[in-house]
Symmetry: C2
Subunit: 328 residues, 2 copies
């Protein structure tokens, strides 16, 4: 294992210190590195807090800023943050309008965010994301996993919070966006967790994991490598089966899992877009990037969100975070 | 080799088609995919054109847009674009104030951009970037290579062009920025060129290439893997030796070469920043990302630019490209 680090024990803290130093205009690191929060809060706004195991960067700390999250709690690599971190984050960013937790559906995250919600002195609600259609239950999840669609929920709910909507409305909006969003991923290689020192799973030289999770959890099946069009079709079939037959407008997010170059992501975008169009779905908004990752895994995921006017306006609204920035 | 593609012959064109479709708000693909240009030109502005072999994305097409490039010419993977592409790009974006070519110092690029400059009917000047301090001559360069510092030149000269400065002034500015900029890279793994089908060079399980080029060219030496602080110190020593002893303000760019996760880049940023501070240099501006790449290579480069008030203002100026966006 060759990784840029000084030790397994310090990789996360040095990374967080570097992140906070590089982006002091946008974010501040909380005490004991419990959370990353916006440098400037907006009083009276519902505060959005997310978090989860590290190793998925830029999710979530890269999405902290105007128009998106107020705070993100980084756990150890692929390990949930603690309720204490969530409570500290909520306390730091709650300006009186309440706090909305955005939680990916993994047992550790769900349990800890639930505990924090119960312990929090103020008003707290939560939204669970479970956009991954690959499998119905997984290694660390009862029910479907939350993957790259979480970004879409965070962006749109973040915009609505910035507009001044209340906690109950934001929770309902988050659930509606999650319900309109479906994803599936594929791994060409395993990730390597620093503390493990070797690959999480083994793949043959021509083998891939179709439906992989963002921690390297098993997907639907192992299969042979195939042309991009074939892989995109298998993933899009699974996604589209759940989006329904109606024509309409969608957001297409092609997300790199860490080790896949931009050129290949755009080949997959090209394939996925044509598949959507062939189904009568118009790609009205697009995002292509390495945004919700699994450390150094080579692979990608496709995410499709059904759009309406409201969701398009929320997507287009200004955002200023480390990893997503437009309109300001 | 597992890559998301349909064939070696079509990977570039499908990727470009996907890029143009995903970002139609910002860019337009030229005829025969000869170049990517801004969707909207600004009449009377000097046009900035860059380009080079593909495989370094988001450089250069990802830097086309307001406040940066007007057009970028993509060659085949690691192969210079042709003079015809450069002429077509120049013709498409020259609104009468002339064209500035920004050229990385590789023999093919230099020769072809020179030829295009001589053949162009309008006024054309060029700036050569050669920020890589690793080696004085390299596989495809007489003199030092142009690497991630090219991004800094494109950003700052792009801002100055947007302000309305003339061709001669922009050329001089570009040369000044290049002269104030030094970079060095390190590879943990080789890249794999699609047409080659296997790694460009071989590294042992604990071996790295210090001073690697962005096409996998040899650097200063092979060495054993070491802690991030040690690697950053070796690179920063080479860079700082050329920046001079004076205190002052700098831009620190930590650039991923393709396959290196965000967490590790921030560890390197953290190390590099402290090394600069120990030399009396204040890190006034920062950029951390996977921006000037070598396909799927795991590795990173450090780039330092000495700043003054003018360069800080140019760096901070609004930019709206696929890969760099702020202030608008």
């Amino acid at each position: 294992m060759k990784k840029f680090m000084n030790s397994v024990e310090t990789i996360l803290q040095e990374s967080l210190d570097g992140f906070a130093a590089a982006h002091a205009d946008l974010v501040t690191l909380g005490e004991n590195r419990a959370f990353v929060r916006r440098a400037t809060l907006k009083p009276g706004k519902v505060a959005l807090v997310s978090g989860g195991g590290s190793g998925h960067e830029p999710l979530h700390a890269g999405f902290v800023g105007h128009g998106m999250l107020d705070a993100a709690c980084p756990g150890q690599v692929f390990t949930s943050p603690t309720p204490d971190q969530m409570l500290a984050a909520a306390a730091a960013v709650d300006t009186g309008a309440g706090v909305l937790f955005i939680v990916k559906n993994y047992e550790g995250d769900v349990m800890n965010f639930d505990m924090a919600r119960e312990m929090a002195p103020g008003e707290v609600a939560s939204v669970l994301t479970n956009d991954d259609v690959a499998v119905d239950n997984s290694t660390w999840s009862a029910g479907r996993r939350g993957v790259a669609g979480t970004l879409v929920v965070e962006k749109m709910v973040g915009a609505a919070a910035e507009e001044g909507r209340g906690l109950v409305a934001l929770q309902a909006l988050g659930e509606r966006i999650n319900g309109a969003t479906r994803s599936m991923g594929v791994a060409l290689t395993s990730c390597t967790v620093p503390a493990a020192g070797g690959p999480t799973f083994a793949l043959g030289p021509d083998e891939i994991e179709m439906g992989v999770g963002i921690h390297g959890e098993p997907g639907r099946r192992r299969r042979d490598m195939a042309p991009a069009d074939v892989l995109a079709a298998e993933m899009m079939e699974a996604i589209a089966a759940e989006l329904g037959e109606d024509p309409g407008e969608v957001l297409l997010l092609v997300n790199g899992l860490g080790g896949t170059p931009s050129m290949e992501l755009y080949v997959m975008y090209h394939a996925a877009r044509r598949l959507l169009e062939a189904r009568g779905l118009r790609v009205a908004r697009s995002l292509v990037g390495t945004l919700v990752t699994s450390l150094d895994m080579a692979g990608c995921s496709l995410t499709v969100t059904r759009l309406d006017r409201e969701l398009i306006a929320l997507w287009d609204a200004p955002v200023a975070t480390v990893a997503l920035r437009w309109g300001m």
